[in-house]
């Protein structure tokens, strides 16, 4: 009779980028069950809406996650704008999409580097992060920050970008496309990488729907829940938008979806820069929301759909703010994907959901 062993994995583990703890029930080398546990970095950020007014909280919202920092400030600002019934100028909507897609590019390229590192391809890891640096330089030149941008305010954007700056963004993106193409080719066609990713952590379309998975994790299992399709804000101005989908449902599918989404984001940015209207980038917002007013919002973060909810008490301090981040939804799918895998593949599967535990715990 075989005996099961429980191996604790994380929260501090060399292959994990995030403090996630897994109890792996293994039979020999095979994982029978994985029980995830979080709660190591809870910071109580949602509670801080009661001690900081809605304009101040935007700088806290972007600290929910270091990688989707811009996305969180954007999602939060959109929620407050709908709570206040404010409509922002169209130019600000375009600029928001440009910066949001740039942060998706930087997030995905960072992830591709981490994935390369996880399956042991150090050179690929270095090249990915080298290209990501170009995007961080764009952030630094346009907004003044590299990771935490503080570029969004309730009512619009902090800074306008002139034609020269927009051209610089475009040139940078065109400049990395060729090199990035070679990286994608490596990810998709290199046999040593394929042997590490193909068929690992498979999740069927039905399971992906049942577990409510979001983001590239779901799209690799052919479930389209890309919130960008709803055409909110600047996304409604795009001529076409077809989410990147894949049918393989394994680690390879997830890597491929993310790799191709970077190219899609580059196209979106180019189109937005070509069609950006003129005018103001912010309107002054000072009033407090109506007492009891509620607002919700969804945003496609690099890791998937993020949901925001705000409840007002009639002052500038919110009564309640709630965010449901993509990783908190995807953890269930991850535990499913881990069932039956080899112990050596655990880190690869955990990584392919692109976990962001600091988002999840806030």
């Amino acid at each position: 009779m075989s005996q099961h062993t429980v191996i604790p994995f994380g929260p501090q583990h060399p292959v994990l980028p995030e403090p996630l703890h897994l109890d792996l029930v293994v039979d020999d080398e095979r994982v029978i069950e994985a029980v995830p546990q979080i709660g190591f970095i809870h910071r109580g950020l949602e509670r801080m809406t009661q001690t900081h007014d809605y304009n101040q909280f935007i700088y806290i919202a972007e600290r929910i996650c270091g990688i989707c920092a811009f996305g969180h400030s954007l999602g939060y600002a959109e929620t407050i704008e709908s709570l206040l019934g404010v409509e922002i100028p169209p130019r600000a909507e375009y600029l928001r999409v440009i910066l949001h897609e740039l942060s998706r590019m930087h997030s995905h390229i960072l992830w591709l580097g981490l994935a390369a590192d996880a399956f042991g391809h150090e050179a690929l890891f270095m090249h990915c992060w080298r290209l990501r640096e170009r995007i961080l330089d764009v952030f630094e030149a346009t907004t003044g920050g590299r990771v935490i941008l503080s570029a969004v305010i309730v009512g619009g954007m902090v800074r306008d970008q002139d034609a020269a700056m927009l051209q610089m963004i475009k040139d940078t993106i065109v400049g990395i496309k060729d090199e990035y193409g070679q990286l994608v080719n490596t990810f998709v066609n290199d046999s040593s990488i394929r042997s590490r990713l193909d068929g690992i952590g498979y999740i069927s379309k039905e399971d992906a729907m049942r577990y409510g998975m979001v983001g590239p994790f779901a799209r690799a299992s052919n479930v389209n829940n890309d919130v960008r399709c709803l055409g909110k804000g600047g996304y409604g101005k795009l001529s076409t938008f077809d989410p990147i989908m894949d049918t393989s449902g394994d680690c390879f599918g997830r890597a491929k979806v993310r790799a191709l989404e970077v190219l899609q984001s580059a196209d979106i940015i180019e189109e937005m820069i070509d069609t950006i209207p003129g005018g103001e980038v912010a309107i002054p917002v000072k009033h407090a929301p109506e007492p009891g007013a509620q607002a919700c919002n969804t945003l496609e973060q690099p890791r998937g759909e993020c949901y925001y909810y705000a409840l007002s008490n009639g002052t500038k301090y919110l009564e309640r703010m709630r965010m449901r981040t993509p990783t908190s939804v995807n953890l269930a799918g991850m535990a499913m994907a881990l069932k039956g895998c080899d112990l050596a593949d655990v880190n690869m599967i955990v990584l392919t959901i692109d976990p962001c535990i600091s988002c999840t715990e806030r």
Partner: protein
């Protein structure tokens, strides 16, 4: 399929300039729009305390009685909210990288006492304003009586 797909890029890297710089021997060039660090033109500042109320991180301390404006740079999160809120536009973010600090302390700036000339100019402005107000009042009274 096949392996060594990254061969071309890796080989060509041998003949390229390095992407990294030799910090700290070589300094990185700061872009013009960098949110470097907060500077206050203390001569212009009226110590109204609006920046202190705006700051989400509680990094600023303004004391009108003691005549100073202070910033705790370790608390400042470089959000630039104070620069937008300042009514005198005396706060600005200088686009330069700071040297790492060796100690944790607050930077305190005392507002210089106004010079003789400034005091005289202030008095003159006050007197001119008063005179204009008196004139306007007299004109109004005349209108009402007339």
């Amino acid at each position: 399929m096949g392996s060594f797909k990254l061969g071309k890029m890796t080989l060509s890297s041998l003949f390229k300039q390095p992407e990294t710089i030799l910090y700290p021997t070589v300094a990185k060039k700061a872009p013009a729009g960098l949110k470097g660090h907060i500077e206050n033109d203390i001569g212009v500042c009226i110590l109204c305390g609006i920046c202190e109320k705006t700051c989400p991180a509680g990094a600023l301390r303004v004391d009108k009685k003691e005549n100073y404006w202070a910033i705790d740079r370790f608390r400042c999160v470089q959000c630039a909210a104070c620069t937008r809120a300042c009514p005198k536009a005396c706060l600005a973010m200088r686009p330069s990288y700071m040297k790492p600090s060796a100690s944790m302390s607050e930077d305190v700036f005392f507002k210089p006492a106004p010079s003789e000339d400034e005091l005289a100019a202030k008095e003159a402005r006050k007197a001119a304003k008063l005179e204009a107000a008196m004139k306007a009042k007299a004109a109004r009274q005349e209108m009402q009586e007339g």
